[in-house]
Amino acid sequence: MNRQVERWMIGVAWLSGIVLLGTVFSIIGYLFYKGAATLTPSLIFGETQPMDALLLRRQVFDGLFPAMVGTFSLVVLSVGWAIPVGLATGIYLAEYSGKTMKRTLNLFFDILAGIPSIVVGLFGFSLAVFLHKHFSERIYPCLLISSLSLAFLVLPYIIRTTQVSLDSLPPVTRLTALALGATRLQNIFYVLIPKSLSGILSGVILAIGRCAEDTAVIMLTGVVATAGVPKSLLSNYEALPFYIYYTSSQYANPQELMTGYGASIILLTICAVLFLLAFAAKRGLTYHALYRA
């Protein structure tokens, strides 16, 4: 009986794994099947010469280039805001806070993690309106407001992964540098953070994915269908998920829908590039902190 259950359990585990992998591969395969044909330079650059577009000499009208730049800058900015704040909060929770403080703050961050993105978007929108009224007429929903709202959305991931990876370091690691005369801060920066970079990285990757896919927040805070490459933090921008959303909801002919699939492939590629950048940054940081002689 018991052995039967064990075998059955292993079977179920394998099956789940296969279903999951199968789904992932069929989604990606389907995207390529549908969208591969549209993957031409003209999908990205339209009628403009690629070199002119990349050097920002000519504007791209009928291509995805502005949306790619928009999504890329949006993700980099949002994660850029969220990492320092999230790291600092995670370090505080793991290393400095007392028991009650930790429990209270964790409750708040769980609530924050559970806020639907459309609500965060609405908040960002209200913030833009408020700033427009009371601070400067120049402020509209824009790249800055969107990236701040998204940072707010992904902050809990970074806080939680930082805290958990610091908490799970073995006690002897914690004592090593202290016993050699390290101050608390030296211990954190020279030993504990470098040792938990892998864990922190997983939070950053989650955050990158979330920022790249989110449509609800940016719809309310500054994305538009045609804006060109964003000129500053205070300008409107285009973004791939929004492009995919509106082509698939209001396409006029099958060709137009196909460009939606093409855009999805490009979005996945941008995410992959950002993940690789995050890995490279982690390796570089670990090397600098720990291995360089």
Partner: protein, 237 residues
């Protein structure tokens, strides 16, 4: 032969999660000797070592009462004095743990790490001190050609000697060792024993050990910790 007292422990009480681990412990440790502390596992031997470099203060739910004074150039200072700088204390009182704990970096960087912490960054001088520390820890000949290798590539015994070298680089006056050979085979342990006997010329050494044979080989004095009290062991006879 009368030696100067190096460490003076008075009325030390220690509780962890409400359990009294040490009860009114008083002891004197002489300069340039090896004192072994024996006793059953979990009785508080490691804790006792940690009261000598205040490392216990990082443990939650621990409280301590009592005094620990160390003799620095003829003057006794209370290490629990508020004005006593903690980082300095841990440079004066080095510690080596039961399981070798090299940091995940190169051999050279591991040994130089305490210097970096102390803000000492004159490169040629660092290289010189690293070599000297490795020599004192009987490791130089084995690693001189591969200082940039990852420390985790060393054998267990070598890792432990690396940790001793790392503790020695700041020239501590007192060296605490918490069962330093318990994770090593007999040959590796023998090297460390010899090393310790040689080191007592420079340091006052306290070593927690389980191995009675080892204790009898290297220790000048043996104390036994039982029921929270530190008493001279029968092994001294």
């Amino acid at each position: 032969m009368d030696r100067a007292i190096k460490i003076q422990v008075d009325h030390l009480n220690f509780s962890y999660r409400g359990n009294r681990v040490l009860r009114d412990v008083s002891a004197r440790f002489e300069e340039n000797t090896i004192t072994a502390i024996v006793g059953p596992s979990g009785i508080g031997k490691s804790t006792f070592l940690m009261t000598l470099n205040r490392l216990w203060e990082t443990m939650p739910h621990a409280t301590m009462k009592g005094e620990v004074r160390i003799n620095l150039d003829g003057r006794f200072s209370n290490i629990y004095d508020h004005s006593y700088p903690l980082a300095e204390l841990r440079r004066t009182v080095g510690m080596v743990f039961q399981v070798p704990n090299p940091l995940p970096m190169s051999i050279f960087k591991n040994v130089a790490f305490p210097l970096k912490l102390a803000g000492f960054c004159d490169k040629p001088a660092v290289a010189e001190k690293v070599e000297e520390a490795l020599r004192r820890a009987y490791l130089w000949e084995e690693v001189r050609d591969r200082l940039t290798d990852h420390a985790m590539q060393l054998s267990g015994g070598q890792q432990q000697r690396l940790c001793i070298a790392r503790a020695l680089i700041l020239e501590p006056q007192i060296l605490l060792l918490d069962e330093p050979t318990s994770s090593l085979d007999a040959t590796a342990a023998a090297v460390i024993e010899e090393l310790l006997v040689n080191l007592k010329k420079r340091c006052t050494i306290l070593v927690v050990s389980h191995y009675l044979a080892q204790v009898q080989r290297i220790a000048d004095r043996v104390l036994e910790l039982a029921d929270g009290i530190l008493v001279p062991s029968l092994l001294n006879l």
